[in-house]
Amino acid sequence: MQTIQAIIDAIAVGALYALVAVGLALVFGVMRLINFAQGELITAGAYSLYLTRNLPLVVSIVVCFVVCVALAVAIERVAFRPLRGASPATTLVATFAVAFALEAVWLIAFTPQGKTADLLSALNRTATHGSLHLRWVTITELVAGVVLLGGTVLVLNRTTIGLHMRAAASDFRAARLLGVRADRVIRAAFAMSGFLAAVVSLLLTVQQPLVTPTFGLDVTILALVGAVLGGIDRLATATAGGFLIGFISSILGDELPASLSNFAPSFTFLVVILVLLIRPAGLLAPLGQSGVDRV
């Protein structure tokens, strides 16, 4: 029973990491850019929850979404758009610069001490009675993961802007020649990644209500590793990779003996190194043949 418990928890954590990976893959798809600043969106959302802790819950949640989406769009406008056409190395460094700059902002504004954002802590309550110990947050993570992944696929496959995004991901210059507006497509990708970051903020503060300046960083780095592991150029493989890394790190955190569980990240990366040694192109690359959801 304990094993089932660990697996269910791990699936929920995996869903959370998958959402982060989707946000990274959306931006990577249209810009061929790994956006390290994605983690700062999550941190910003969490701080907004702290700042609005005395407001009604609904207001707080809405503000969190607005902050994340607005910041994502603003970062693109201010930092990345002027670099359009610059070398990939330049834009990559720019995403680091944005991430560190925002981290400095959090440090100055909120100090290194953690701020408590426990608005949704009610979700920590147990949902089931009996030998299986399911918390509401676990269920929420699972539902959010499925709904948002499905929603993302729907937007990409069933809307005009989604078709534009998939075309841009396939051949950006050819898409522009057909009249597809680069600015609009890229802004849409960033807005969607901001939306996903807001959801991750909400769910992550349930588990760790103490918000520090590096709140979103760890989960983003791990999700990025997962996305690359699966194959970041395809939405399906990036998502699966993100899920897998969350799943593995949760299982390792649970199953490793207490003396070793502090080193869970090290073991996770050990798995990553082994996988990349065997399959440098990404673990799931050949499986992503569906084609339609590459972004």
Binding site: R166, A167, A174, A175, L177, G179, V180
Partner: protein
């Protein structure tokens, strides 16, 4: 040599696609040099010349895929030299690529719809245009397949349908018939004529298939080393080529041009 430009444009000087004194240099290599080019509505112009003559460069510069180092591009009297490619596309300028460049992950239908959506058509309209073009281009059977699964010649047809879905005023085709079977060529020539007559569009076509160029062109421009070498009706150009071949004593010139 700029002989009679047999334009069917009826003389309204504004409604033309015009490149004036266009130059493009790549690291010292002059791909285009002071080139003047015009394309009217309701006109098919064939652009021929040896490899490296600047044919694709001219298309790139006109459509905004590349910037000229000098000169100006005018679209129906409006200077579009500084416009990005997407804006030129919405203003009625479409192209196809030598390599096809269809979106491999999108279905054939989505590829063509995108041609319409990109220039601001509604979803419903885009679907209707795609249905029509897929049937004209005999691609309807493949509509739901990812474009990457089609043979190369079929992918070019998708690219042509995609360009036409934007209802362009001018469409520039870079080797659209490469990879087509000889038996498809006459049907393709018919498509080009119907673009001119039915859509009232100007067509620039670059291709190595001289039979196709001769059959569909109202006027042919010969390009060599980034300059205009000759211009005239298909008959005039054919006579020129034959004369050149006679002088050079190399019947190979004609043969080579015929073969591409």
């Amino acid at each position: 040599m700029g002989t009679s430009g047999a334009s069917r444009d009826g003389g309204s000087s504004g409604a033309r696609l015009r490149a004036t004194d266009v130059a493009r240099a790549f690291k010292g290599v002059q791909a285009l040099e002071g080139l003047n080019f015009e394309l009217g509505r309701h006109e098919v112009v064939g652009l021929i010349g040896p490899n490296g003559a600047g044919k694709t460069t001219l298309i790139n510069v006109i459509t905004g895929f590349d910037r000229p180092t000098a000169g100006a591009i005018e679209l129906d009297g409006v200077d579009v030299t500084g416009w990005p490619a997407s804006r030129r596309a919405r203003a009625g300028l479409a192209r196809t690529f030598q390599q096809g460049r269809v979106f491999g992950e999108l279905t054939v239908q989505e590829n063509v719809e995108l041609g319409a959506l990109g220039v601001g058509a509604g979803a419903h309209q885009a679907r209707a245009r795609a249905d029509e073009l897929l049937s004209i281009m005999q691609l309807a059977d493949h509509a739901k397949l990812p474009a990457s699964l089609l043979a190369h010649g079929e992918q070019r047809k998708v690219a042509v349908a995609r360009a036409l879905a934007s209802r362009p005023r001018y469409v520039l085709m870079d080797e659209p018939a490469a990879g087509l079977f000889e038996s498809d060529i006459s049907a393709f020539a018919e498509v080009i004529r119907s673009v001119r007559d039915g859509y009232d569009a100007g067509v620039l076509i670059v291709d190595h298939n001289m039979a196709l160029i001769m059959a569909v062109s109202d006027r042919i421009e010969v390009l060599d080393q980034g300059r205009s070498l000759a211009s005239g009706t298909p008959e005039e150009i054919r006579r020129n080529i034959d004369v050149a071949a006679a002088y050079l004593g190399a019947s190979g010139v004609t043969a080579e041009r015929e073969r591409g």
